[in-house]
Subunit: 368 residues, 4 copies
């Protein structure tokens, strides 16, 4: 119920501000017996981290995860897992100038109206710093999903600004060089051009949006709950809830509007489905096909280019944002999107076995 908690059974509660002493999370409901070590987190946190290439914000956080509870002798015990990361490179002075101003396109204005008070340092709670803990929690979900069900989850970028991937892969095996460049871009041939475009963007002071896609393979049929806990609905919430997200698609998404029904519906052969316009979800329940989602990320509004905005007294002021920002925040959203997909699947997996049993899903007609 609490709004800083994600998930019903695999419930992740996060806390922490961008420039506070620490960020952290509590993961409640994790199945017992799963092997977890501090070093498990390094990979995905590093993929999300800033300061690793010239194309991201230059804030450099060690992102060392301390496991505070819930793990004994290297295995989860079923009790809540507390994770903590100290903030070490928060430069609050960068933000002092705009503490009394509302940056356009930011949550400054709305937090102030909602709460009557806000922590302006680095965007406070509304900073993407919070997503670090989503990625950390996602690591645990992904591990269980992989070990127990063989689920694999991989994200990539298919559009940056106006530049699109020519052919969007529908399977993880087809994702090519995705982990070999700073843009999570499957097609290695396009990377040099992207590097140049990003350099130009950074120099211009502008920013660009991105489209991130995620494929989850190995999801068994039967996950998802009608009618308000549908798998696709929860994926939509999970992905739209990431900072800067403005749109979410499942499968063919908005393209399905122009598809004839005879084309959109995925024919079924003895070997399975002949296409995957549905994106692996039918009636809110996984079909056994790859689950495919796509997310639109807006260009960051934190630019050093001045813009007219308001201060807390309602006066129009010229606002310049001088903090360290990503010219294209969508790129680093890839591991966050993967994590959110993992958290949704993990939660649905547990909910499914609650109602239908461990075996039920696979053997029709056996009461759960």
């Amino acid at each position: 119920m609490a709004s800083n908690t994600f998930g019903k059974l695999f419930a992740v509660t996060t806390f922490g501000e961008s420039h506070g002493p620490a960020i952290g999370c509590v993961i409640d409901g994790c199945p017992p017996g799963l092997a977890i070590a501090p070093e498990d987190f390094a990979g995905d946190l590093s993929r999300r981290a800033t300061g690793k290439s010239r194309h991201t914000s230059q804030r450099r956080e060690a992102d060392e995860v301390e496991i505070l509870s819930g793990v004994y002798e290297g295995r989860t015990t079923g009790t809540p897992i507390g994770l903590l990361i100290r903030n070490t490179d928060a430069r609050s002075k960068d933000y002092d100038a705009i503490a009394a101003q509302f940056r356009p396109g930011h949550a400054d204005y709305t937090y102030w109206h909602k709460y009557g008070i806000r922590d302006p340092r680095g965007g406070g709670r509304s900073s993407a710093r919070e997503t670090t803990m989503r990625v950390a929690a996602g690591v645990i979900a992904r591990k269980w999903l992989a070990e127990r069900h063989g689920v694999r989850i991989q994200g990539f970028v298919s559009q940056i600004g106006e530049r699109r991937l020519e052919c969007v892969p529908e399977r993880i095996d087809a994702l090519g060089d995705v982990e070999g460049n700073p843009f999570f871009w499957p097609d290695a041939a396009q990377v040099p051009a992207l590097e140049a475009a990003m350099d130009a963007l950074r120099k211009s002071g502008e920013s660009a949006g991105a489209r991130v896609e995620v494929i989850a393979e190995g999801v068994p049929p039967g996950w998802g709950e009608p009618v308000y806990g549908k798998l696709d609905a929860e994926l939509a919430a999970a992905l739209m809830g990431i900072n800067a997200a403005k749109g979410v698609e499942i499968g063919a998404g908005f393209e399905s509007v122009a598809q004839p029904g005879s084309v959109h519906r995925d024919r079924m052969d003895p070997g399975g489905f002949a296409s995957n316009h549905a994106g692996g979800v039918l009636g809110g329940i996984s079909s056994g096909q790859a689950v495919r989602c796509s997310v639109a990320f807006k260009p960051t509004s934190s630019l050093r280019l001045p813009v007219a905005g308001l201060d807390v007294d309602g006066q129009v002021v010229d606002i310049v944002t001088t903090g360290r920002h990503d010219p294209c925040v969508g790129i680093r959203a890839v591991p966050i999107c993967e994590a959110m997909v993992a958290l949704v699947l993990m939660d649905q997996a547990l909910r499914h076995r609650a109602q239908c049993g461990d075996v039920g899903a696979m053997s029709p007609r056996v009461p759960g």
Copy 2:
């Protein structure tokens, strides 16, 4: 928590199958003192109903709402409101032929895998019949939102198949003829062409998708909860959870990917925001601007054109759907989308005043 319940504080629980004896809902958490009468439901239910023009399914349901509880002498009492609608025009024989088959693009296959049992009559629980109760619950939410906060919510169709509205309005006042034609199409001049296109579609046995947009005006700044109860995230879940939805956008949506940051961010003047690419939500919290969402609906998969599918024994069979179906289900989704937006706003309104008080939202710096 329960998956057939929508909302945390204004909690709507629905039940009922397409061809069962009745559908119904329980609305828990409604503020006391709101005037509600059975006839309040007629308007929106009629907008959603089938059988009213030749462009929708010919199933004709009276959709008479019986108020079973929670209203005394015409006013809500604060206790749960039970609503019931008897099904009167369910023709289950239409479906007997495919009880042992999985219709491609439908939930037949996934329900079967999830539960090992399913009610095949009219799609059972997965039928859009369930959305009738969403609309009924939405009527109550809309009434409270209008009376208490002056919120207005209006949906429309901006695309059917490949046919798009030329200029998509951003304000309710600009929606023109939207309620004057069976397509919720703002531009009256295009309606004759749409009529012809729909007639051709129906004759061909094909189906088309639709894009539905919703505008909510009068939403005060401050509604929405960081970080997992964001207004836009909950709108995304609410809308993606409607039958046949495949994509959701807030504000500029996927177009924001290609917008430069300096364009996307909405400048603030003393008179307010100069544009609304954000769609009325910043950092997951309403900004006071119009909340704008867009939803992609796939073409229905229930066609009389045959398609290869599986039966329960895993054999490939030719499947023909002969029931009564809409050639473009997205059109009737307009009042459903409005209702879901209303339910999200209502729930967020109550959650906001729980934490920040009735007055808090409007008077910054006063402790809640």
Copy 3:
């Protein structure tokens, strides 16, 4: 979250007022494949019903359960089960006289202060009529618990007014004549005296309290969740939430205060526990022993003996309650207590298998 919903995974939402058209409930999350028929409800509803002996209220309700959804060809489908019972013997005129008065010891006063409006007919929502639906939902829970886990649940009365059962049984097999008399009293020899005492009580216009105890056998070890979802904590809420309940005990309850630690702690032999002061729960988790609870029910405040009370204008008035009431409401609480225990166990059973798997509970050290 909604306050008229009980349970997290086996979620029962009730609605309806004492003198409204109907009462009902929606049961969400029921495992699929369970055989349920309308006649399954008759037994427990009859045990709870009024009008069956001279010792209860003379209201006579048919209590015919209509299954509105969630059951297909006699088996649960996993979708929400809607149950409806029409009110047929509501005599609202009995209550007209006190519509503007607050009956002492009743919810009239508090509903009025909470909501500013109330349905005074028969106590409205605060009437014990609502508990009919708890019993109905409990029937389904008990059936699943019995079929799947062999759980048996039986309640009895161990005290009426000052009259106590001499020896309180700790096992169901020892409950003797409990179902053979209108008082759920295990010791048949005491029944004639109870009959006489109840007759005298009724004639005097007074009322008496009761202590109800419930034993649940066959509960496997491992159900219950630390630290705020403890089995005993949820039993306490479930039982204290029944109308007129004022106290709840688990196992030795308040007697444990005066027990030395060496006596209270239950020694473990190879054959199991040597005693059961714990009441089958250790650390909030079932131990495999019989779960034992005890509930105190106050005497009803609805007496024909006049009492000073307030009217809605704050004036002191003499209040006489002339409706049909039980002289000892606690007696009929037996099936309600059993139902609430069943609902708690059912919900915990599903939550346990969500986190630990179907097999996990029984085979330590196997990761869930």
Copy 4:
């Protein structure tokens, strides 16, 4: 929903084991603008702490609270408040001997059956160490309740073993010396005898139970939600969920069973209620009277007196507990009970204003 979270709107999630690196909590949903400083926690944490007199466990924890988030410039911001306390005096070696044994009366056996794995150090998650965070969270709740509504909450001990307080006060003003002795005992004259009894108990190796009572004054009428979110039901869950609790009463509790109805029901005069057998709750909603609860705590099972128990291989072994334990754990439960009452009231206060508004509760007939 998560089982380590307490509360729906003022949601407290705790984590941490007795001998892990730290314990902590996240408080979500706190109203913004409340002044909170680290030193606010010292008072209640010290009242709960061990090692302060010879009558408690000799474990000495600094219990220094670090505020990790949610507070900016000394005031709550409305975002989640993370609190952390490092464990500094955990002596795990004390427990090594019994890592493979199940201490009777403890959660060892049930955790092992539930999860197949457990952290045996100091009882792990089942240790009362966890309650430190409840007290910390309760500090914030109490402060808001006091500042906003004038609510005062005070607990005391009314029975230790067989020794009872002669006259149990019903008002906070009558609690006399309760804060002046290590037993939270209102009657100073009895304290020397208690000291002697506790010394004898400690020397004997035995333990004793306690009855703790809590009075909350200033609770306005209207808090509590029918029918499954009743104030008394939630108090019962909150208090029964404290380690070692075996019984909970509201108002007259089990005594009400033997009270005639004409005595139990609290007469209403123009000046208010003439008595308070109800304990401040009618129909699950606060009546404006003092809320009174009573909790039974069992004697601790951790004795140095040997007892027959099982080891993980099912063999009977003699178990001696040599760790540092309280001879009467119930005494230190006083601030924990107060905290749980505060958390329940806080959550209900927010839920009430969500549905009925800030003003609604006090002015009947004004729609919320």
